[in-house]
């Protein structure tokens, strides 16, 4: 029997805590409890109103069993087409702009001033919520899908450029080494060493982004930036739950189809 064993046998055993310092641990536990109490306390729920609402909630739920595609078929059609169009166009433009910005934002192949500018664009695009951007663009460009299209393009740029830049930064470490070793020029290295590796990923990400853009385009209408959201908003306002249900089903259906397609395409290119 070793000394180390003597020290431990017969004594209770406890799992070593996740946070080693007990002071910190207790501060965090007590802090979270206090926060939760305060936060929950700050919710001033009008339960009577909620209770009355349950009935309406049920009506809405039931509406899904008999969605009404017909009464507002015209508006729904226009709205859906607008949403799809906005998603498609903004994805294409977004990709086209993302490629140069993504290259510029990759530390290893860009020069510092360009790098900083590109990174700033990416950061702003990612920090600003689509809805906020849409509100501003609607104020500037007026109501309609143009504002929505610009919003989604801007969001796509932030999303794709960042991923593209990271991809290139990762790639260079392992892959471009080999090309560099053969004494290739910068352009050759770029064309042969980096692009072929990045393109499949880029295609996959673009398709994924198309999917996101469609989903987002469905809400931009709420702030007047075109798409199915406006129709949805109106139908809620008029309490036409069966039309709303129809629109939501269309959105869910389209999203599912897009997700399925993007799954297939991504599996094929990668």
């Amino acid at each position: 029997m070793s000394a180390a064993l003597d020290a431990r046998v017969g004594k209770p055993w406890k799992k070593p805590p996740f946070i080693a310092s007990s002071a910190l641990r207790w501060t965090m536990i007590i802090g979270s409890v206090i926060y939760l109490v305060l936060a929950i306390g700050s919710f001033d729920v009008n339960w009577a109103r909620v209770y009355r609402g349950l009935d309406r909630g049920w009506q809405f739920f039931v509406a899904f069993t008999h969605p009404d595609f017909v009464s507002r078929a015209g508006e729904i059609k226009v709205g859906m087409i607008e949403s799809v169009v906005m998603a498609l166009a903004s994805t294409v433009v977004g990709i086209a702009v993302s490629i140069p910005i993504g290259l510029g934002a990759a530390r290893n192949i860009s020069v510092l001033p360009i790098y900083l500018v590109c990174r700033a664009i990416v950061a702003i695009s990612r920090a600003l919520n689509e809805i906020v951007v849409a509100i501003l663009l609607v104020a500037i460009f007026g109501f309609g899908p143009l504002a929505g299209f610009l919003t989604l393009s801007f969001a796509t740029i932030g999303f794709l450029s960042k991923l593209l830049a990271e991809e290139i930064e990762d790639m260079d470490k392992v892959q471009a080494e080999a090309v560099r070793a053969t004494g290739a020029t910068w352009l050759q290295r770029y064309v042969f060493g980096i692009l072929p590796q990045v393109i499949p990923r880029l295609i996959g990400l673009s398709i994924y982004r198309l999917d996101i853009n469609f989903r987002e385009s469905a809400v931009l209408g709420i702030v007047g930036a075109g798409g199915i959201g406006a129709t949805l908003n109106t139908s809620f306002d008029r309490y036409e739950f069966d039309t709303a249900a129809a629109i939501l089903l269309l959105i869910i259906g389209t999203v599912m189809v897009l997700e399925y397609l993007s799954g297939i395409i991504r599996a094929r290119v990668q």
Binding site: L5, R8, G10, P12, W13, K15
Partner: protein, 264 residues
Amino acid sequence: MLRLEKLTKVYKTGDKALSDVNLEVPKGQVLALIGPSGAGKSTMIRCINRLVEPTSGTVTLDGVEISKLGAGGLRRERRRMGMIFQEYALVERLSVMENVLSGRLGYVGFWRSFLRKFPQSDVDEAFRLLDRVGLVEMADKRADELSGGQRQRVGICRALIQDPSVLLVDEPTASLDPKTSRQIMRLIVELCEERDLAAIVNIHDVALAQMFVSRVVGLEKGTVVFDGAPEELTEDVLTRIYGQEDWSETIQKVEDDDEEDAAK
């Protein structure tokens, strides 16, 4: 005493991994199971504790027919069968101690185990076992911080703390270097001796098997083609099990190893 009778396993894919295997392992015997890849060694071991459901045939452990048990009974009987895995199969994000104590799960209730409040006797036994394999200092380390050999020792502790009457060991050394392999095999055999445990050790390294066990069973395409003492493993027999090859090297090595061992 562990007895397999007419044990047969056909996988859903149609692979007949075991056909009519009969085998008896008396108490305290360490048995090496050898055979080419795909012979059905892992399948046999897993059919015993029913991680894989046998298609037909029976498995009996100390008079209890395991292949007939319902879910609750099976859990109770699994406690008496310790299992050791090739890739250790430790829960990597748990501490060494938790991994060892997880061998007692069949004996304690859900909440006790969930809150890590194991009986003191289990805790003491866990420390004793860890001390036996030289890892008591590591008790509070996370399992993924250990080396391969150390992990396998923890795996052995987890199996032994179950207080089993048979050990099922699936390629314990396949991921280890030669020296560690030997240490681990020696440890398993010694522990089986100390506790009078039966063991089925499924192993690729024929030389290593010959060095440590008292009985070797050769499996080929799901049937037993050899059953005897390690000395009886001649070139002929190996050819029967593994197919045509030059075996003199393998057997030569065995003799060298034996001398080396004797010299110690």
